[in-house]
């Protein structure tokens, strides 16, 4: 007891007495000085802090990760082939197209808006690709560009209608769903189905291109190293600025964890065909989008508009620009998804982008943790959500159950995800983490 106070300090409160407190504060990082801040100590403390966050509704992607594990355990018990390398390689390839569309859905959901027309737009894009490349004989890059451009223009149109007339995005894109389905059929013409030559590189890319084993491992290691370097640089800069920084051991642990999380699946996929180029493209899109959302001013303004439009507007954010850019990106991602799907099918037909494409893309974003209320979610929601949906689909196919059951189960999972979203939102509000 070093406090030179005359009043007897309460037991166990030796470092809260005023004179020592000031001494203590000087040595503590600027962001840790409030004595009410609960600081985790050691691994046990970190785990407890995590548990506390979960109970207060700040659950992030935890439910979907747990859900994914449950789904995988159940299906592998029902059919051991489910977790075979061959099946998982197929699973990754099935994820890529709809997953790409889902990245765009995450963006509009972040604004608290919706795009119901992504299926039709992806179908239209596939049709434009096939017709211009096969029937009109355009060079493939030009055809691809035309498809993407169509998506971009459609998104701009949505954004214009939304910002100019204030029509709810639900209605605009519902009209788009019908209108662009019609356009798709018109573009395809009387044949209704066009095959894309098997030797064109878009089909090769979607069906045949896999990373060589060594390249997949190099990419895994480079990713983990980049992650570690970025954590390390941030920690140094924070320490230099007098703020609390992540300790070096924690950086090492996190990076090794990432190395394992990426390396083990890569190794397992490499047992058969390996990591598909199309799946890699999807992963890269997710990571790049995550970077833009979390690190740039544009991303910050997307979250701000989703959280409180009026506040965003008053702080000088170009709200119209944010809406335009997001609707445009969403439709462009839809068009890209349509291109990937056409490549994988080596054809575009009247069913392209139809069926469950639309609903799967939207469901994936929501299941992955993008909130329907806006302002919450991440690019990784698309990845996690589409993994869940395609796992269910693949597992049920292996069990020879037909699509009727698949729709019902996917519907139930979606409902569950929305309930989890609403519940966690309510808990967050009551725990002050909304």
């Amino acid at each position: 007891m070093t406090t030179p106070t005359s009043t007897p300090p309460p037991a166990g409160a030796d470092d809260t007495a005023p004179p020592t407190e000031t001494v203590r504060l000087a040595a503590v990082a600027a962001d840790l000085q409030d004595e009410r801040l609960i600081q985790p100590h050691g691994i046990g403390g970190t785990v407890r802090a995590f548990g506390k966050r979960v109970r207060s509704g700040d659950i992030g992607s935890l439910p979907v990760v747990i859900g994914l594990i449950v789904i995988w355990v159940v299906f592998s018990l029902l059919n051991p082939n489910f977790l075979s390398s061959t099946n998982l390689v197929n699973l990754t390839l099935q994820c890529a197209a709809v997953g790409t569309i889902s990245v765009g859905i995450v963006l509009v959901l972040l604004l608290g808006e919706i795009d119901l027309s992504v299926g039709s737009v992806s179908g239209l894009s596939a049709a434009i690709l096939a017709v211009s490349f096969v029937n009109l004989g355009w060079p493939l890059p030009v055809s691809l560009l035309a498809s993407l451009l169509a998506g971009m223009v459609i998104g701009l149109l949505y954004g214009f209608l939304y910002t100019r007339f204030g029509v709810p995005s639900f209605v605009i894109t519902l009209a788009g769903l019908l209108g662009f389905l019609g356009l798709q059929l018109w573009v395809l013409g009387s044949t209704g189905s066009i095959n894309i030559p098997f030797d064109s590189w878009i089909v090769q890319f979607a069906q045949q291109w896999f990373l060589p084993d060594w390249l997949s491992y190099v990419l895994v290691v480079l990713t983990a190293l980049a992650y570690a370097a970025q954590l390390f640089v941030t920690a140094n800069r924070r320490a230099a600025a007098g703020l609390s920084a992540v300790p070096a051991t924690s950086i090492v642990v996190r990076s090794v964890f990432l190395l394992v999380v990426l390396g083990v699946p890569a190794w397992y996929l490499n047992q058969t065909r390996g990591v598909g180029a199309m799946f890699l493209l999807f992963l890269v899109l997710v990571v790049v989008m995550n970077f833009f959302l979390t690190r740039t001013k544009w991303g910050r303004s997307v979250y701000a508009v989703g959280g409180n439009v009026e506040a965003a507007r008053r702080s000088g954010i170009n709200v119209t620009g944010v809406y335009l850019s997001v609707f445009m990106l969403c439709s462009t991602f839809a068009a890209l998804g349509g291109i990937l799907a056409a490549g994988r099918l080596a054809a575009a037909n009247q069913g392209s982008g139809g069926g469950d494409t639309n609903l799967n893309a939207i469901a994936a974003a929501v299941i992955g943790g993008a909130s329907l209320f806006g302002g919450r979610g991440s690019a990784f929601s698309a990845l996690l959500g589409i993994l869940v949906i395609q796992s269910i689909s693949s597992g049920l196919t292996l069990l020879n159950l037909d699509s009727s059951i698949r729709y019902m189960i996917t519907g139930a999972v979606l409902l569950l995800a929305v309930i989890v979203d609403s519940l966690s939102r309510r808990t967050r509000v009551s725990h002050g983490r909304a």
């Binding site: 703020l243 001013k297 967050r428 002050g432 983490r433």
Partner: protein, 286 residues
């Protein structure tokens, strides 16, 4: 109502001058022919009853909605403020009555919203460092700047909103009821801050219903009543009663009646105490 006493020429320059401002919302004429001068190095208090049009007037300056009539001149040049960015470019920073924070973003993100530091990517470290500096200057009691503002108390949120107005070197700071939700210490800190802003030569517009705060820091008081100018006073030579009279539009108003009632009952109690029988004073009331 003619309690107008022309204020002496203030020390600073005339930075912002409003003439004949009109604003209506559909059938409601919220502002009619409002004049307001804002000088650097001076705190002007804008007072008036609920619905007098104070928030509407400052929202015109903040670019939230444009005026329907009248002119605004800045440093002698006529300007039009069509959006919040225009207002920002004129060096006007506003703390809104409804705070205008994004609940899903953390404190740092809210403080720098629309003005993030860094070029290609956001410089979070520098932003967090400056946030702590700013919050400490306001004696803010905020445990962490990395939690969503939704989890802060009303007063903490208000402190964040005030701190936000100080980012980006404003020339004019407008505060719409900044101390309404603050604790005693934080209120004092905001009043200190207002005085510091004045010393630094900034122009401050303060809206408050708390006459003690107004009299403590303001140099000049502008009264609005039912959307019109209703008097302008130098704080040094106006009494509390005069201000209240200008706000309510009559020397006989609810405030004076309450005060009178208190005096009466005190007299009555005194009378009752001196009387031989100790009857309750209420019996002596009419």
């Amino acid at each position: 109502m003619a309690v107008t006493s022309t204020p002496e020429a203030p020390v600073g320059d005339l930075v912002l001058s409003l003439r004949g401002i009109d604003k209506n919302f559909g059938a409601v004429q919220a502002l009619t022919d409002i004049d307001l001068d804002i000088y650097s190095g001076e705190v002007v208090a804008l007072v008036g009853d609920n619905g007098a049009g104070k928030s509407t007037l400052i929202k015109i300056l903040a670019g939230v909605h444009p005026q329907d009539g009248g002119t605004i001149s800045h440093d002698g040049k006529t300007v039009s403020i069509n959006n919040p960015a225009d207002s920002n470019n004129l060096g006007i920073a506003t703390v809104y009555q409804d705070l205008a924070l994004c609940d899903n973003l953390d404190v740092v993100a809210n403080l720098f919203l629309g003005h993030e530091l860094g070029r290609a990517t956001i410089n979070e470290v520098e932003m967090e460092k400056r946030s702590w500096g700013l919050l400490r200057q306001l004696s803010a009691r905020i445990p962490s700047v990395r939690i969503p503002v939704a989890s802060l108390s009303g007063g903490q949120r208000q402190t964040v909103a005030i701190a936000r107005s100080l980012i980006g070197e404003p020339r004019i700071v407008i505060l719409d009821e900044p101390t309404a939700a603050l604790g005693v210490a934080q209120t004092a800190e905001v009043l200190n801050l207002i005085e510091r802003l004045r010393e630094r030569g900034l122009a401050v517009v303060l809206i408050s219903h708390n006459m003690a705060d107004v009299q403590a820091v303001a140099d000049r008081i502008v009264v609005l009543r039912l959307g019109r100018n209703n008097g302008e006073f130098k704080v040094a030579d106006v009494s509390y009663e005069d201000i209240i009279a200008a706000i309510t539009g009559a020397s006989d108003n609810a405030v004076t009646r309450r005060a009178q009632a208190r005096v009466d009952s005190a007299d009555a109690t005194a009378a009752a105490a001196t009387a031989t029988d100790t009857e309750l004073p209420k019996e002596e009331r009419p």
